[in-house]
Symmetry: C2
Subunit: 169 residues, 2 copies
């Protein structure tokens, strides 16, 4: 799996996340509660709420696309409060990721990735992808899923995985 494949997988999973949120909206409507209650839900008092999990998973995809293509990520201020706003954040992220062509990742493994939180140190692109971007992306996607699931939204493993490419015979 090269960097472009990874970014495509992130985009697919963000589109899946959007569907989980749509299912949550239908569930809230059916049960007669305001879906945005779930935006502040969390699994532990000192863990990210759903709002922050969605912002974080979007940022993992956005920054991986930018860092590994040598581009600059657009600014997406973390000001979402509602499901509608979070789903818009997912769309903005998908729109940005779609602008980065496969050819831009040709040098991904050799990119020098120096996020501010590393305080001057840097990752080789290939290490950043394997050690940070992939595990972190799926962590926040899974936590968003878990918060919805914990609150009763009916989701199953194939909602998480999405479409698969299989062959017959």
């Amino acid at each position: 799996m090269n960097a472009h494949d990874a970014i495509q997988l992130f985009a697919k999973t963000l589109a899946n996340l959007d569907k989980w949120m749509e299912k949550a909206e239908a569930y809230a409507k059916d049960r007669g509660f305001e879906v945005d209650v779930l935006a502040q839900s969390r699994l532990a008092p000192d863990q990210y709420s759903l709002v922050k999990q969605v912002q974080a998973v979007c940022d993992q995809a956005k920054f991986a696309a930018a860092y590994l293509s040598g581009g600059k990520a657009p600014s997406h201020p973390d000001n979402e409060q509602t499901f509608a706003e979070l789903r818009q954040r997912i769309r903005k992220t998908l729109d940005y990721v779609a602008t980065v062509p496969e050819s831009a990742f040709a040098n991904a493994d050799q990119q020098k990735v120096a996020p501010a939180w590393l305080g001057g140190r840097w990752f080789r692109g290939s290490d950043y992808l394997v050690e940070m971007a992939i595990p972190n992306f799926f962590f926040h996607a899974s936590m968003a899923y878990a918060i919805l699931r914990h609150n009763g939204v009916s989701l199953g493993k194939m909602d998480y995985i999405g479409g698969i490419t299989t062959h017959e015979g």
Copy 2:
């Protein structure tokens, strides 16, 4: 990230999981409860318990190593009940994965991966890695983490990520 890198990342994350479980044991001892209570914890009544999450994450690593190397996975019956048994399952999985040399993954992308649950259909190795093994592995690892976190075990993101390879200057 090729198949061998992915399997190495899975092994690293399983070793991290073992440390989360060790932290859970220390937490239980400190709080004066039996740690194996957590083995049956789950985030939703119809979602896997911690026991099954750990078995599943081990199996994702084991089967990915076997399928992508064209080898045969050892049988690990799902009979664990306790933390000690689950940690032994992790060790058995790591021991097996360590027996598969990097050279065995040379043909990983072209392997025909036909798990029984596909009912006769099959994945191309490269699709199996991207569409199933990676997202599924991190799903179950994250759910194990989330169950422990939800029950008060003090874990942070770097416990999840583990060691990283960065450079100075």
